[in-house]
Amino acid sequence: MTDLLIESRTLEDRLRSVLPGDVDFASARLVDERSERVTVRRNQLEPIFNEFDTGVMISIWNDGGLGYAATTDLSESGLTAAVDQARRWAEITAGAMVTTAAPRNHATGTYVSPVEVTWDSMPLPDRIDLLHQQSRLLGIDERIVNWGASLVRREVDQLLVTRSKVGATGRVEQRFRFVYPSLHATANEGVNTQTRTFGGHAFCGQGGAEVLGRYGFGDAATRIAEQALELLTAPNCPTGVMDAILAPDQMILQIHESIGHPLEIDRILGDERNYAGTSFVTPDMFGTYQYGSELLNVTFDPTVPGQLASYGFDDDGTPASREYLIKDGILVRGLGGAVSQERSGIPGVSNSRADNWNRPPIDRMANLNVEPGESTVDELVASVEHGVFFHTNNSWSIDDSRNKFQFGCEYGQLIRDGEIVGPVRNPGYRGISSTFWRSLSGVADRNSFTVMGTPNCGKGELNQMIGTGHASPACKFSGIEVFGGEQ
């Protein structure tokens, strides 16, 4: 099961041969994916699971109509039938489309995930042993009632071929290699249950076995198990208006929900209003709106080596490049691919992405990063008279305009008079996106800048679940509404 379909010249020739040469734009996007999941839970190996997925999405844009057809039948007759189906949809929708803007790129190029140490250099028995070892480090106390360690490896090969009636053709080949490590430990005593995790929503990326070392996978188990136990006796997070320092593994969520989603141009255009929602951001804000304090600099950067959503081209074939979305606090650019840019007139980026072969591309975040500042983390802490240091997101909720939010974390640390005095449990805070980022009062330097990713961002009708990357240093916010659990 290791044959790479993307390397099959016969298949590529077949894809090219079925694409019609009499339409405005036609594309075939082949996705060939292989993955393996190995999990040890409570010192017991769970069933290993292997997944193989291959299919093609045909897209036809013609005479103001658009049609898609997704198929797993890669034979000539199967692909031809899909093309016919997509053509029929383009005929049905002609004259009824919300936009006749079509992708125009016929790019040629390749992208390959950087891999320093191949995954296969760590054979399956070694991976199982590693997970058992981590599991034993997690289950250190009878109050730890559930724990586990897992490794997921995904290989995704994509080939996009395009053709138009004016004779243009394109070919984009991209080979992604992903690693997702994770650990969790749940402690319980009476009515109090506390969970600490590692990985999951943050510490995953592109590469090979070196991804484990990049995030310190081998050093995390003891720490998170001890912290889960600490939380059983820790006081609840205090309630009140105070300063908040967000660690990178909470910043990832803050960036994602209250910068990423509101800046998606398809949301601003209303495409998502029936499901994921709309945005408080309006087209007139670009170029002038004070999104955050002057300390806020946010880039869309699909070029960061090893970040989860790095790529060379989006799924419409637009070449990817680094762009500022927010510069010195001012909103300058949105998150929208070529079609959304043409529809809206808003400057965008190359982020038209589909989560698999069976979904059409829509505007998605890729790598969305807060650029580092100049303070050390110690300086941020020292500047706080009364506040909380928030670590590792575990709860997220935000309104459909991406404005009123409430987020929670696994682990908090109380700060008094510039010093961390101890852990607090159930730390949470709430705010409003349109004003929250203006309270940004400190951005830590490159020493705390952490390149992360989150594998599960849901959006779209039909629904799509895709990986996005976020990088950030620790950041300080002033005058935030903070609260704890129970009440």
Partner: protein, 446 residues
């Protein structure tokens, strides 16, 4: 054109795979798939439209107490899929040699074969598009239409065969008035009925009229609140997905209703919740071959009753399985209706909030079952039983022990059938039957 027979194809593949098993191997195989046409709309025009045909074969290859799993996407071409399956089984055998016995392995060794096929007559997509755009003419319509077959099958080398297939359509849409003010609705079924659709459209138009009034900005505080069935769905989905009704979450003290296990907390005696498989639209079998009973009582009169037990949990915790999937959450939840006449909800509410939809729920404190989330779509302020004005979005933060417990004043006398509109990976077959709920005081914080 003869339609591809996914049922027969699955049977042929499993029969071929069974013939190729070695020694004492047992094969457990599941197929799930769909043949879907979709039309995505914005501003009553098409944003994206197309067709998807997909089928995934998932297998568990067992020998003794050792086993490894895997899945392949089926091409629908016999020679290709048999070759893929042979390669997958070879890989699973290689890996199986490296794993120890699994003490929690459990699969059905007493084959029971079943078949349930519900063939609808879904409209031709171009006809559906025409009907939808006619209904949306002059209005800001946004949403998704999806139709066609969904199917799930199970087969084992022990001779068991189960098949579930239905042909349905699902039109999930909103009429937008302005900004975030919209009326959301759903029309789903087996056969498109113009009159039924017109009735749905008329309901939405009436909501739009109510939304035209100037919205009220309510301050944080506690308000008497009616939660419509769709709002209840959001709350109960949160509890379900985080293990409120699953055995593993109970045993590991992760259930959000922990205080009902280890303390004397109770939900309202008005509340009875069941996994009502017999009246749902999901398959009644799962991937280890166990059939689900028609009904499992999860909460009775506000107290925990049974849990959903997957085969692995059954082995791990020494209790019988009731055919739950690995996630151990309900697929066909039903809440028993109450006494409030559904036609007199506003009168029962009197003065307070009418919440049509909640959105993006999560926990503020999971162990205490303190939840948060937003109001969305049609949410109104009512006075003396009359809708007065729409309300700008509000964030709630309150415990289920209040909302579904000591502050629950009553449930409506009709449980609405709510089909799950999720399409992650494929079209969902989950559903809920829920009444609306009247809550004496609900806490809003932002």
């Amino acid at each position: 054109v003869t339609q591809f027979d996914d049922h027969a194809y699955f049977d042929e593949l499993v029969t071929a795979a069974t013939a190729a098993l070695t020694g004492d191997e047992v094969l457990l195989a599941t197929v799930s798939g769909e043949r879907t046409d979709f039309i995505r709309l914005n501003h009553n025009e098409v944003r994206q439209a197309g067709s998807i045909h997909q089928r995934t074969l998932t297998v568990d290859l067992v020998e003794g107490h050792r086993h490894v799993g895997g899945s392949i996407r089926l091409a629908g071409v016999r020679s290709i899929d048999e070759a893929r399956m042979v390669a997958l089984l070879a890989q699973l055998r290689d890996q199986r040699r490296l794993v120890a016995d699994d003490p929690f392995l459990l699969y059905n060794t007493e084959p029971v074969s079943t078949e349930r096929i519900e063939r609808g007559t879904v409209p031709d997509p171009s006809a559906a598009l025409a009907d939808i755009r006619t209904a949306g003419a002059g209005r800001d319509l946004v949403g998704i239409y999806a139709s066609g077959d969904t199917f799930t099958g199970f087969a084992s080398s022990l001779g068991q065969r189960n098949w579930f297939q239905s042909s349905t359509f699902n039109f999930d849409w909103s009429f937008y008035l302005r900004a975030d003010k919209a009326a959301k609705n759903l029309y789903a079924g087996f056969e498109w009925d113009d009159a039924a659709f017109a009735g749905k459209v008329d309901w939405s138009v009436r909501q739009l009229v109510a939304l035209e009034r100037d919205p009220i900005e309510l301050s944080p505080g506690e308000y008497r609140t009616y939660l419509a069935p769709r709002a209840m769905e959001e709350l109960l989905q949160l509890l379900s997905y985080y293990g409120a009704f699953g055995r593993r979450a109970h045993e590991t003290r992760q259930t959000p209703l922990l205080r009902m296990l280890v303390d004397d907390a109770r939900l309202s005696p008005l509340l009875t919740i069941r996994e009502d498989t017999a009246r749902g639209v999901a398959p009644n079998f799962q991937s280890a071959g166990f059939l689900r009973p028609d009904s499992v009582s999860l909460v009775v009169d506000g107290a925990y009753a049974e849990t959903l037990v997957s085969p692995r949990s059954a082995q791990e915790y020494g209790v019988p399985t009731n055919g739950a999937t690995g996630g151990e959450y309900p697929l066909s939840m039903a809440v028993e209706p109450g006494a409030i006449p559904t036609t007199a909800v506003n009168e029962a509410l009197g003065t307070g909030l009418y919440v049509g939809n909640l959105w993006y729920t999560n926990f503020s404190d999971q162990a205490a079952c303190r939840t948060t989330g937003m109001t969305r779509f049609a949410t109104f302020w009512a006075e003396d039983g009359e809708i007065v004005a729409p309300v700008n979005v509000l964030r709630f933060d309150d415990t289920a022990y209040h909302l579904l417990g000591d502050r629950l004043e009553g449930l409506t006398d009709h449980a609405e059938v709510l089909l799950d509109t999720d399409t992650y990976g494929g079209r969902s077959t989950s559903s809920m039957r829920l009444p609306g709920a009247l809550v004496g005081a609900m806490r809003f914080v932002l």
